[in-house]
């Protein structure tokens, strides 16, 4: 793993803290809202892993594309989708970033080229390859960043995609969020060789393992990788070693890991460690921290209000968005059976 850079500017430090905190607090709120049944379906929290999205995504250009998984709230927020639109989406409201159709696992945004939110493990990798291929063929100087968990590494699609990216020299940044578990399956129970960044090397892809709990390390690695991709028109791979503090989803009884293990990783929390470091280096003050918390809290409060005030799509519109031209709908929607919940 690369060395940790130790110094950071006040501005950059505050930005990272704010970014990570916005994700953290938003998701804590999501968990609450799930309890209140405002958010339904599957909800996968990113808590503990914020340094990855916060360290990588701000380095992208406006025209770059992002492909993510079902654990993508943080990525969407970092990419610039408003918290309002994200929350509204999780509520299933029309004002959501996917018009309410996708929910937590399928956040989309054409403006920022945020191409989902894919709930099939490894399903996003081929898509990312294709986006990069289109860029390359159109001579667009863009990068596609593809996030996925270490569980995806066992899927055939991962290997097919890495090979294609390397063979065709496509501008893709693969970011493996290795949080050591795929649901309840520990990495050592799913891979014969657990050193994931080496798998990328076996395709001739430049690859680095990174301390994914440290936003500075993440950021440095991302910058280097993106530079390499942009200048050399090759793919690159980052293995982010990280950990999720919460359950896999809201249904997970967490039988597969020890509480002590979780506690140990919590010591490495990307937010508290950065905060402590910046304070120790006297780059920020307690007032700064309070201000950041306040900013995040206000944004969340507004987002919840926005989502609450959002509208349910009329049930008559059920058949929308299947085909581009609505007259292509194969059969009309069934008679409206349910009225929208209150």
């Amino acid at each position: 793993m690369n060395d940790k850079p130790s110094q950071v500017s006040r501005e950059q430090g505050l930005q990272w803290l704010l970014d990570m905190l916005r994700i953290r607090r938003m998701e804590e709120k999501c968990a609450e809202l799930y309890g209140e049944e405002k958010i339904r379906g599957f909800l996968h929290l990113y808590i503990g892993e914020e340094a990855v999205a916060a360290g990588v995504i701000p380095e992208l250009e406006a025209e770059d594309a992002v492909v993510a998984t079902y654990r993508e709230h943080g990525h969407a927020l970092m990419r610039g989708i408003s918290m309002n639109a994200i929350l509204a989406e999780m509520y299933g409201k029309q004002e959501g970033c996917s018009g309410g159709r996708g929910g937590s696992m399928h956040l989309f945004d054409a403006n920022t080229r945020f191409c989902g939110g894919n709930a099939i493990v490894s399903g996003g990798l081929p898509l990312a390859i294709g986006l990069a291929l289109a860029d390359k063929m159109q001579k667009q100087p863009r990068v596609t960043v593809c996030f996925f968990g270490e569980g995806a590494v066992a899927e055939g699609e991962f290997h097919e995609s890495l090979n294609l990216a390397a063979l065709w020299q496509l501008p893709v940044l693969f970011v493996c969020e290795n949080n050591l578990y795929a649901m309840g399956t520990a990495l050592a129970r799913s891979e014969s060789v657990t050193d994931i960044h080496r798998k990328a090397e076996s395709y001739g892809i430049h690859s680095t393992a990174v301390d994914g709990m440290d936003v500075m390390s993440v950021n440095t690695a991302a910058r280097l990788a993106l530079k390499k991709i942009r200048t050399e028109q090759v793919p690159a791979f980052l293995e982010m070693r990280t950990y999720r503090f919460r359950a896999h989803s809201m249904f997970d009884p967490e039988l597969y890991r020890e509480k002590t293990e979780v506690e140990q990783w919590k010591q490495l929390c990307p937010i508290t460690t950065l905060r402590a470091r910046l304070k120790a280096q006297q780059v920020i003050t307690d007032e700064d921290i309070a201000a950041i918390e306040q900013t995040a809290a206000a944004e969340i409060q507004a987002a919840v209000a926005f989502a609450e005030a959002g509208h349910w799509e009329p049930v008559e519109d059920l058949m929308k968005y299947v085909y581009t031209e609505s007259e292509n709908s194969v059969i009309p929607a069934q008679a409206g059976i349910q009225t929208p919940p209150p």
């Binding site: 339904r40 379906g41 599957f42 299933g92 409201k93 309410g100 159709r101 996708g102 929910g103 696992m105 399928h106 894919n118 709930a119 099939i120 493990v121 490894s122 399903g123 569980g151 995806a152 066992a154 899927e155 055939g156 699609e157 795929a182 649901m183 309840g184 399956t185 520990a186 129970r189 799913s190 891979e191 997970d252 009884p253 039988l255 597969y256 349910w312 799509e313 049930v315 059920l318 058949m319 968005y321 299947v322 709908s329 194969v330 059969i331 929607a333 069934q334 008679a335 409206g336 059976i337 349910q338 009225t339 929208p340 919940p341």
Partner: protein, 326 residues
């Protein structure tokens, strides 16, 4: 004994594991996690990690491995977490499991049991809400079954394991939490014949799996206005039990098929076609079906529910078929 459908399937697996050492369970998170739907919870402790085998996320390889292990003398139960992920292992199922016996001129057989959760209704959105039973039911060489009652959830597995050919069991996610009374001695049930779950003379409601509950509710509702619906639970989706279906339709002279698959190309269409072919002159009214609307399942509950078959839709469709526009 009072138990949930989940417990019934677990009991069936336990029994199979106890009685036949060739049986083992394999799949994503069946062990330490306790199963995505907690169906296999506790089995790892009892049977150990050799026989309750957590797999990597490699649907094609571990389903293929189940097929190979069956060929090699074992009796694997392979859990593909949900039908949605089975899209990654269709090649193994269709091109290997379903064909080996035939391609080898009958020399090899593949006694593998594949279990998959199916169905929508939990706001899991477009990629996690498929009902592709009709695809599997299309393939010669496979046997496809769908338990809809507590007894069948308890009793179908053993027969499936005894079958020398590949059997796919579809378990509807909405059933796991349901509870019911299970007689103590049920450990085997039929997997070849459809069952008449309610008798009636006016119309046949033909369904399977998770939708039996809705069909029975609809029948109760219809009964209030004097319409006696006969409810057929298919149980076996391949082969289909034409005899039971046709006997019912010849009696009621009207039929509605209820199916959570998308409308076009649904299993409902196949059943309708069989009725048209074989009981055309016995029908007093056009056939009808209640299927899922032709849209990827939307996340919000009101839209999802509007897309799925509902009791109210079945009831109004039945009245329509009977010419009662109430």
């Amino acid at each position: 004994m009072n138990m949930t459908y989940r417990e019934a399937m677990r009991a069936a697996m336990r029994e199979a594991l106890q009685q036949d050492e060739r049986v083992f369970l394999m799949g994503e998170d069946v062990g330490r996690y306790g199963g995505c739907y907690a169906v296999s919870k506790g089995l790892l402790d009892e049977f150990g990690e050799e026989r309750i085998r957590d797999t990597p996320l490699s649907e094609s390889a571990f389903v293929g491995a189940g097929i190979g292990a069956a060929l090699g003398g074992m009796r694997p139960i392979v859990e593909v977490m949900t039908v949605n992920f089975s899209l990654l292992c269709l090649d193994q199922i269709v091109n290997t499991a379903a064909t080996l016996r035939h391609m080898s001129g009958g020399q090899f057989s593949v006694p593998v049991v594949l279990r998959m959760t199916t169905g929508a209704g939990r706001q899991l959105a477009a990629q996690h809400s498929h009902s592709l039973e009709c695809w599997y039911a299309h393939v010669p060489g496979l046997r496809v079954i769908a338990p809809a009652t507590l007894e069948d959830m308890r009793g179908m597995l053993r027969v499936a394991l005894e079958d020398p050919d590949p059997v796919i069991i579809f378990e509807h996610n909405a059933l796991y939490n349901r509870e019911g009374e299970l007689p103590d001695d049920v450990s085997v049930t039929e997997i070849r014949r459809a069952a008449v779950r309610r008798t009636g003379n006016h119309i046949s409601l033909i369904c399977y799996g998770g939708n039996l509950v809705k069909a029975l509710e609809a029948a109760d509702e219809l009964a209030k206005s004097g319409i006696e619906a006969e409810v057929i639970d298919l149980r076996s989706l391949r082969p289909l039990d034409d005899a039971t279906i046709l006997t019912s339709v010849r009696k009621t002279r009207r039929a509605i098929m209820i199916d959570e698959g998308w409308h076009s190309g649904s299993l409902a269409a196949e059943i309708g076609m069989r009725i048209s072919e074989q009981a055309f002159y016995d029908l007093d009214a056009p056939l009808a079906r209640v299927c899922t609307a032709e849209v990827p399942i939307p996340y919000p509950s009101h839209l999802e529910q509007a897309a799925l078959p509902q009791v109210a839709t079945i009831v109004s469709k039945a009245r329509e078929v009977l010419g009662q526009h109430v």
